[in-house]
Symmetry: C2
DNA sequence: CTTCTTGTTCCATTATTTGGAACTCAATTT
DNA sequence: AAATTGAGTTCCAAATAATGGAACAAGAAG
């Protein structure tokens, strides 16, 4: 109708398209998040672009190595992504500072230790330290999971004050991964309040059946960075008593990481 | 002069800029390859863009999560890279097919096993299986190293015919990582000829002092995909005799991976 | 053989990027 | 205190790149 409405729309849209790059990255996401190689036509139907346009966009992405094509002409995520990520991971300051503490915590508990950062309402796992049973290292690194049903995610959320918390979870959709998953903001809110009091979060099979964890929040003083550290294991080994027993250790690890971050960041500038 | 020359130039240029995306990815590279957080002005001096332009480009990259800024305003690789890479890695067909063979080879030799693919004249490591001593898993995954001084790289190159080999290494610059590193195409060429005859490549401290390896080539029948698998270890443990002893095992692993790839790709289509 | 489906190329139109200059805001020097 | 420098940000006419419709290939299905 009028131009004001148009402007409002623009501002409301979360991922406001960053010109050309935004459209291209949306395609990369589309291909990377799909769980099978995508044909040209598959992508065409999911992205509403004209054929000619889409074709050129994909060509550019392939040329830059962000996507690849297999011999059937299907599109896959490109290897250049791995290459770029490996460097960013190896030199990530937060991760390198936290690493020794993760190892200590792993040694103390014998179970798998995770480090994750909050990104909107998702947790992205930055590191993982496993014990002997080397099932598959790394598999979790880089993974994104919902904050509301993971220990690390809930711990990170608990560092927010009420107003920031509500702003962040507004409009969040709850997916019932298990019968214990929170189904509404109300349930999550109550849990978060407990977590604030307790200083650590429990995940009792909320994200995956048979998997429990205890996590503690890590955050910068201005809450610009929200993260968490957790100890995870199978429910038959990780009983409620174990979770209680490990809670102080996890809190201590989180505290140590926060302190190291401060002393690392302070003097630098 | 004439248009032919122009066309030739275009074809010769490796990273021909893909319009907007090419320029932006060049910036991502610049930031990701630097070994310290980059200030706006640092980037300004390295990329020859006007200030205004560069500023908008970086803003877009940050908005899309490919880059991030720390509290000092320095630019770092973004966490979204990790997230995208993790998905591409987890579902990489070649890697998943190869994985069991890498594990077997690791068990047979007790040393670290690598899987890498050739990209131009660089090897990118796709997977790594280590034994007990869990120094730092993953660290190598995604890493790019020159083909001419790594076992995997030389093995992959050996699958090329003479013409393709010369075309690929034309203009290659040799950096002397150790005293054993090849310094010229001539030396590399001779080595490659031996590798072709032998069916496997040796790296005797050519890339890193004190590190030796034996590698075998993996390639699709049309040589569109060139890769290699290797067993690596410290020189004091990995003697020449060991390398000879492991050579058949490595060749067998490579052969098995090739066969699995074929039977996987064949029926699919 | 004809008709779909899938993928590729072309080019005038349209929208985005460009780059120079002007501006802000500290920190440093005079 | 005023002036100068350095670092980063914003603006807008001009240059450039992206767009999208249509036409063109090339198989596969009917």
């Amino acid at each position: 109708m009028n131009s004001r409405q148009g402007d409002d729309m623009k501002e409301i849209r979360r991922g406001r398209e960053t010109g050309t790059l935004g459209k291209l990255m949306a395609l990369v996401d589309l291909v990377a998040l799909a769980d099978r190689p995508m044909r040209f036509t598959d992508i065409l139907s999911l992205s509403d672009q004209p054929r000619g346009t889409l074709h050129r966009q994909l060509s550019h992405l392939v040329e830059e190595g962000l996507l690849e094509t297999d011999r059937d002409g299907c599109y896959l995520p490109g290897i250049r992504l791995l290459s770029l990520a490996s460097r960013s991971w190896a030199r990530n300051e937060f991760r390198t500072v936290a690493e020794p503490h993760l190892r200590l915590l792993q040694a103390q508990t014998g179970e798998t230790v995770h480090l994750g950062v909050l990104r909107g309402t998702e947790v992205i796992y930055l590191d993982k330290v496993e014990g002997r049973q080397s099932v598959r290292m790394y598999s979790q690194i880089g993974n994104a999971s919902p904050a509301y049903c993971t220990g690390v995610g809930k711990a990170a959320l608990s560092a927010l004050d009420d107003i920031s918390f509500e702003a962040r979870v507004a409009g969040l959709e709850f997916h019932a991964y298990t019968e214990h998953t929170h189904r509404s903001v109300a349930g999550l809110r109550a849990d978060i309040e407990d977590i604030r009091r307790r200083g650590c979060a429990f995940d009792r099979e909320e994200h995956e059946s048979g998997i429990c964890c205890v996590a503690a929040p890590i955050h910068s003083d201005d809450n610009e960075m929200l993260a968490g550290v957790s100890v995870t294991g199978p429910a038959y080994r990780v009983t409620s008593e174990k979770l209680q027993e490990w809670a102080p250790l996890v809190r201590a690890a989180a505290a140590a990481i926060m302190q190291d971050m401060q002393s690392r960041l302070g003097p630098r500038r």
